[in-house]
């Protein structure tokens, strides 16, 4: 699939993003996408849906003391970016998202017209 890279100044500045671990679970209305983004609070998370592509971005808010020295670094401090191509029709207006303990949960309700329906036989 051909993807178009938009020249967003924000992405040029932060060219190193990491892809978070995520999980998709079915729920009663549709699907829940659970994204692990530790260090991202409510205001730092951004969810957009455009033409069947769900984009999830998370800006890490790091708070370190002023004159700190690093002794051992194993964690990445880069921001998160995740793009998911949806293959079901999602009710775009009804998408909800919440964060808890560094996990962002995006609830994607399936659009009415895409739901399975039973057909009565005359």
């Amino acid at each position: 699939m051909k993807t178009e890279i938009k020249k967003n100044p924000e992405t040029i500045r932060r060219h190193r993003t990491r892809r978070p671990r995520y999980e998709v679970k079915p729920c009663t209305q549709g699907y829940d996408v659970l994204v692990d983004m530790p260090g991202v609070n409510r205001s730092g998370a951004n969810v957009t849906l455009e033409k069947g592509t769900l984009t999830i971005e998370g800006n890490v808010t790091e708070s370190v003391p002023e004159d700190w020295r690093s002794l051992r670094r194993e964690l990445s401090t880069s921001d998160y970016a995740l793009k998911l191509q949806l293959n079901v029709d999602v009710a775009g207006d009804a998408i909800t998202a919440s964060t808890e303990d560094g996990v962002l949960t995006v609830r994607l309700p399936i659009a009415e017209e895409a739901k399975p329906r039973s057909i009565t036989i005359d």
């Binding site: 260090g39 004159d67 051992r72 670094r73 194993e74 964690l75 560094g102 996990v103």
Partner: protein, 141 residues
């Protein structure tokens, strides 16, 4: 539903470091050993940051989806151990993933003044240095 195991990005840590860490994690905590005889390969070793300023050492770990009450912190002499489990609900069943990590913070710390803060899935442990270890300015007479 399949459980996707998180691949921890610990490629920066050498095999030697891993061995040292494992050796330290069992060193001097035989009492804990009796409590958890099967903490074997099922326990994930989590990556941490260790940094300091003039007054404190800081240990930071990313623990997304872990509840505050499921985190256990232990300071035994010079070794700080973070452990606990992440519980994920899938339908009616509940899956738990255990994690553990030991970090050597040195002996010159005030063990009774250790503080921990957990926010947005990031745990920060503050270990104050003991007075004799802090840098001091010496006045020239």
């Amino acid at each position: 539903m399949t459980l996707i195991r998180y691949e921890y990005p610990d490629s920066s840590v050498s095999e030697f470091d891993r061995m040292v860490n494992r050796a330290f994690s069992n060193f001097g905590r035989w009492s804990a050993f009796e409590d958890e005889p099967f903490s074997g390969p099922e326990t994930a070793r989590i990556p941490v940051d260790l940094y300091e300023d003039n007054d404190c050492y800081f240990v930071r770990a990313e623990l997304p989806g872990v509840k505050k009450e499921d985190i256990k912190l232990e300071l035994d002499n010079a070794v700080l151990t973070l452990s606990g489990e992440r519980k994920t609900k899938s339908g009616d069943s509940e899956e738990t993933t255990s994690f553990s990590r030991s970090v050597n913070v040195g002996e010159y710390v005030q063990g009774d003044k250790v503080k921990a803060h957990f926010e947005d899935g990031v745990l920060t442990v503050t270990v104050p240095k003991s007075e004799e270890r802090k840098p001091r300015t010496i006045a020239i007479k």
